[in-house]
Symmetry: C2
DNA sequence: CTTGAGCTTCCATCTGCTGGAAGGACTATC
DNA sequence: GATAGTCCTTCCAGCAGATGGAAGCTCAAG
């Protein structure tokens, strides 16, 4: 599969896919004509990168998460340690998003643009609703 | 409150706070000595920025979200339209994170580093577990 | 009144893309 | 088989969002 198809299936621009190759996040086979050739497994990686980057994981964190996939022959203890660390990070992000959601939900439900002093968005913005 | 205290309370480096001021995400009062002076409300905004940026919202999106806070005297319809749009975006992010969480959870529970071909992380990476 | 931490501005550097130019390859039509 | 249009290649420039460091001012403690 050419880079254009991989781009469409992963949601990542071709430019970004080439960049990810350049910084070593993945390697691509080459067809005889010199074109990059992607497998469905490559597309899975790209889709994963697209999602994880959009959720605020850094490229280095993505590299680490991908390594859980590529190196699943590593000692279970290693893999589990990294995975558990990332799980905690994901849980924190979910909590934060839930806080943001609550804040915006309150805004939609309760704020009528009348500048009332008890606008619930104030609490939401400060993060107090999370705790 | 000086920038150092605001930094500690918001979780953002002083450098980043100054940068956010430079690009107009917030304005800071100045004390007589020239030092920036932050209110607790400023800290709420900074905390919000810290969370939202970490969750993959762009600076422009943050600017928009902050405007929901600052301009809460705007027509309810405007505010609600933007808020609902952002709510959908947040829900999507929560779904994606939940998918990632499931994937990692499977890895922790089911992968033992023995390179079994049915490692559930493969499905998780492709995003299929979300749907 | 010195010492050290914290503040200021300015400028350079880094990460993570993103755009554009110049040129080769593929597909379809004439 | 020439021509057009789209896709691919590399290379290099530029932008977004910080981040680090230098040079110098301020403040609080001893």
């Amino acid at each position: 599969m050419n880079i254009g198809a991989a781009s469409r299936q992963s949601g990542l621009p071709s430019k970004t896919i080439r960049y990810y190759e350049e910084i070593g996040l993945l390697t691509a086979d080459r067809a005889l004509n010199g074109y990059r050739d992607y497998s469905t497994e490559d597309v899975h990686r790209l889709r994963f990168l697209q999602r994880a980057r959009g959720l605020g994981f850094s490229v280095e964190e993505c590299r680490e998460l991908l390594s859980l996939y590529s190196d699943r022959e590593r000692a279970s203890s290693d893999v589990k340690a990294i995975a558990k660390e990332k799980l905690a990070e994901i849980d924190r992000k979910i909590e934060e998003l839930t806080g943001l959601r609550l804040m915006l939900g309150h805004l939609v439900d309760n704020c009528h643009g009348d500048a009332r002093p008890d606008c619930p968005i104030i609490d939401g913005l400060s993060g107090r609703l999370e705790h």
